[in-house]
Amino acid sequence: MTTLNAPEATAVEGMDALPDFTTDAYKDAYSRINAIVIEGEIEAHDNYISLGTLIPEHKDELAKLARMEMKHAKGFTSCGRNLGVQADMPFAKDFFGPLHGNFQTALEEGKVVTCLLIQALLIEAFAISAYHIYIPVSDPFARKITEGVVKDEYLHLNYGQEWLKANFEASKEELFQANKANLPLIRSMLEQVASDAAVLHMEKEDLIEDFLIAYQEALDEIGFTSREKARMAAAALAG
């Protein structure tokens, strides 16, 4: 509508500036972020292979998704190498520990809906949002690789979405439960990574909102109503 006594655009443009990729502080933060990304891709590979045992009719498709994830892991390893950074893999293993544990439990119990929610919705939405926010502040080498990866991740989100959509009514209750149990983990993972992400010029607020947008879009596609989506997403917002 009308006007606003607001700061002029020129005064705030500088906030989008790229970080200095060569500082020790950047490399230190990158060693953990890079490890999380690599570990995330490796776990995704393993999870899709495991999902193939629960959905044998999609075994080949899931194996294809798994291969893509392994390719991503290699791409991100080269991003670290390019900056002269050694990824802190033990940190990343711990980081994914609780979510990994929940996936394994669901797998043992044959809970395909929970497994899909964890891997194909939560982890993929988390990855997509983080990659989107990383791209504008990344170094040119990593940028090219991440842009390629993000296109693939949409396919993976789409796989889980389509399966759950086709089995919506039968999956609904389990999705509510699985969301309640696992979304808070994503929230604490975001909290844990926030200070390192900030060094890379990725802000927590952006990460959370973009994650919720990707996640809600998926829930919307699956068939949840606005209120159901908001209620489910609230588990991530309430700190």
Binding site: T2, E13, Q216, S226, A230, A234, A238
Partner: protein
């Protein structure tokens, strides 16, 4: 389908609204939670024009609240994410309401066309400013005579004269209405001089100089919080059109021959089954709305799918004619001062 992007008037109002809409969990959150809350498509509406066609629309709450204005990146993200949602929902034309278009303009968001994997198509959005400017100009024309003010001799001050809406109102009042004298008030000198040249007239004054001279004051700038207006220094009668956002002029001055009218508000000819304008605290929430929202409806009624109001100072008299005629044809009327007041003045 048309779309409206709006937001709550304040953080407190946003929490109340969320509760009413059943978004309880977000309602409990603090401002940081709201800063990370994604936009929500909260309501679908259907509207039938007295001229025939029925159109469908959707209301998107950007989850922005004015308390976020100091957080540039948050405000920017709220606006862009809401626009992305509108586009992804396949909405042909979406009006940017409240602070949305102001943030878009002031923070120069044209350079942020790519949101994640979506390239925003600007032709799907309108600021709604053309209709707002036309409505404000008509509110001057309709209400000044009702208060006994003869526009042919009246001095009309436009505060925020160089803005998108302000300059359009000046153009209309000077070339169509023919007012006695235009008093041009704005912060920056050069745009004022340019406007004066374009209009071929009008007197440039400071706010303090203009107010005591004006029979009609059109406010299309946000009011500085510290601004004090001494009612006794104003002319009586004086018509004040509050076209700014938020509309708070009536808390500063009103009464004793000073008549404050909410500017840029229209009323539809029949009830609309929606809850959104209740949240915007309209007097008649089932019929009244911001003119900028109505512009999206009008463009959908007219099947005119283009960014009709876009950028700054592109509002021509021809565009105002077009949207004004559509406004009348499809059953909208401008908000006027109450009939009882008109009778008592007469």
């Amino acid at each position: 389908m048309f779309g409206l992007i709006g937001h709550s008037k304040s953080f407190d109002a946003a929490r109340r609204n969320a509760l009413e809409l059943g978004f309880d969990h977000i309602a409990d959150g603090d401002l940081d939670v709201w800063c990370s809350a994604p936009p929500q498509l909260v309501e679908h509406v259907e509207i039938t024009s007295p001229a025939g066609p029925t159109i469908k629309g959707a209301y998107i709450d950007s989850c922005f609240v004015p308390e976020m204005l100091g957080r540039f990146k948050t405000a920017r993200r709220k606006v862009l994410n809401a626009m992305e949602l509108a586009q992804k929902k396949g909405i042909n034309l979406t009006a940017l309401g409240g602070f949305t278009s102001i943030i878009f303009e002031n923070f120069n968001l044209l350079q942020h066309q790519t949101i994640r994997s979506t390239t925003l198509e600007w032709e799907r959005f309108t600021t709604g400013n053309t209709h707002t400017a036309w409505v404000i100009a008509r509110q001057v024309e309709n209400n000044a005579p009702a208060l006994g003010i003869d526009l042919k001799t009246a001095k009309v001050a436009v505060v925020g004269a160089t803005g998108d809406i302000g300059s359009a109102v000046c153009r209309w009042l000077s070339m169509r209405t023919g007012v006695g004298e235009l008093l041009l008030v704005a912060r920056r000198q050069q745009p004022l001089l340019d406007l004066q040249t374009e209009l071929g007239g009008g007197r440039i004054l400071s706010l303090e100089e203009a107010l005591p001279e004006a029979d009609v004051v059109v406010w299309v700038a946000s009011m500085p919080k510290t601004l004090e207006i001494e009612p006794s220094s104003l002319r009586q009668p004086c018509l004040m059109i509050d076209g700014g956002y938020p509309k708070n002029l009536d808390t500063k001055v009103a009464g004793n021959g000073i008549h404050v009218l909410k500017g840029g508000i229209v009323e539809f000819c029949r009830d609309i089954g929606w809850t959104m304008m209740q949240l915007a605290e309209m007097e008649k929430p089932q019929r009244q709305m911001f003119a900028c929202f109505a512009e999206a409806m009008l463009l959908e009624f007219e099947r005119c799918h283009t960014n009709f109001s876009w950028g700054r100072n592109n509002i021509t008299l021809e565009k105002m004619d077009f949207i004004g005629a559509a406004s009348v044809r499809h059953g909208f009327s401008t908000l006027n001062i109450s009939p009882s007041l008109q009778i008592s003045v007469a």
